[in-house]
């Protein structure tokens, strides 16, 4: 079937995915993004790229899963991935906050020690 995905959309999504992949690569290179957080984005983009090239892929997978309207499968997968990642970010933020508070406590203890110690 040739009309599965229009060519224009296919080209657009390939360009979009490649551009996104380059952006992620650049951020990692410049040390603005930890690999830990980059992996999920790389995986997602590769996934999109595969679907961009393999035009009938989405329909096949959708049919396999019993999804009537194939594009909704993409929305479902994207929402699921985003939600999971947001939870992950909340966990990371909590850990950082915890470490931050502990560091602040240590700073206060050290400030006090400095003040109490006889000047050299």
């Amino acid at each position: 079937m040739d009309t599965v995905v229009p060519l224009r959309i296919q080209i657009l999504s390939i360009i979009g995915s490649v551009f996104f992949l380059m952006l992620i690569g650049r951020l990692i290179l410049k040390r603005k993004l930890e690999e830990e957080y980059a992996i999920i984005w790389v995986v997602c983009t590769v996934f999109l790229l595969v679907l961009s090239f393999w035009r009938a892929g989405l329909e096949r997978v959708a049919a396999l899963l019993g999804v009537f309207y194939p594009p909704s499968l993409i929305f479902l997968a994207a929402l699921f991935a985003i939600t999971l990642f947001l939870v992950h970010l909340s966990v990371v933020a909590t850990r950082l906050e915890h470490q931050n508070r502990r560091l602040a406590q240590e700073v206060a203890l050290l400030r006090n020690e400095l003040r109490e110690s006889p000047k050299a």
Binding site: N100, R101, A104, Q105, V107, A108, L109, R111, N112, R115
Partner: protein, 240 residues
């Protein structure tokens, strides 16, 4: 031979309390001296943006100054860590806003020194104590008391009171884990579930002499929701 007198320290967490902190520290020192105790007061400045820190510098007390605001519970925990490292036997918590009556520290200490309690809470609502507060606040406190009572199967009359004293056993429990924001109701759950003896004594609290409560009215519901969740989690965490 008399045993060595217990080493008692008073921790005062302070956030933007420049108006009241001098009087609070002075009153605490006076009441400790009145009890025949060497006055050891530790003020934890929780990243105040007013003149709290410079005010405390002129006072005869230890100043622990945090580089930024980390929350009342976390600031209090810093006081715990400091006093624990200094081998204190008993730690008293007094709010910096002047609503806790320093002259009643003796009443807080009594059950600890007699060895009949591990944690003592000064309650506004027990016996003939008393304190005026807004309708909304009273409802919130009643709710937290009821929740505490339900979770712990014992009567708690003032679960939000921060006027407390605890012995070294309780202190040791707070060094690693202590609720970092609005810690009072959750800490009661924590202590009780760890089988510490938590006792309330009646005290009369003053009106605030300056500054603002750490809980604004607009945040009241959020505070209640958050504290409820924290208390439930504290129960689950210690479920054996």
């Amino acid at each position: 031979m008399n045993p060595a007198p217990p080493h008692i320290a008073v921790v005062v967490p302070a956030y933007n309390e420049e108006e009241s902190i001098r009087d609070v520290v002075a009153e605490v020192i006076r009441s400790l001296e009145h009890l025949g105790l060497s006055p050891e007061v530790i003020v934890v400045d929780d990243g105040s943006t007013d003149g709290t820190e410079s005010a405390v510098r002129t006072l005869p007390c230890v100043l622990l100054s945090l580089p930024f605001n980390i929350g009342k519970g976390a600031a209090t925990q810093l006081g715990f860590r400091y006093t624990y490292a200094r081998n204190c036997d008993v730690v008293v918590l007094v709010d910096a806003d002047g609503q806790h009556p320093a002259e009643e520290i003796g009443a807080l200490l009594e059950p600890l020194l007699e060895g009949t309690a591990d944690v003592v809470i000064g309650s506004r609502f027990l016996g003939n104590g008393g304190s005026r507060s807004s309708f909304g606040r009273r409802i919130g406190i009643s709710y937290l008391n009821a929740l505490n009572g339900m979770l712990l199967r014992r009567r708690v009359t003032d679960s939000t009171s921060g006027f407390r004293a605890m012995n070294r056993k309780a202190l040791a429990l707070c060094l690693e884990e202590y609720p970092y924001e609005y810690p009072e109701p959750e800490a009661i759950v924590m202590f009780t579930r760890q089988n510490l003896r938590v006792v309330e004594v009646a005290v009369h609290m003053n009106e605030r002499t300056g500054g603002q409560s750490s809980i604004a009215m607009s945040d009241g519901l959020l505070y209640l929701f958050r504290t409820t969740l924290a208390m439930l989690m504290a129960v689950l965490r210690t479920h054996h």
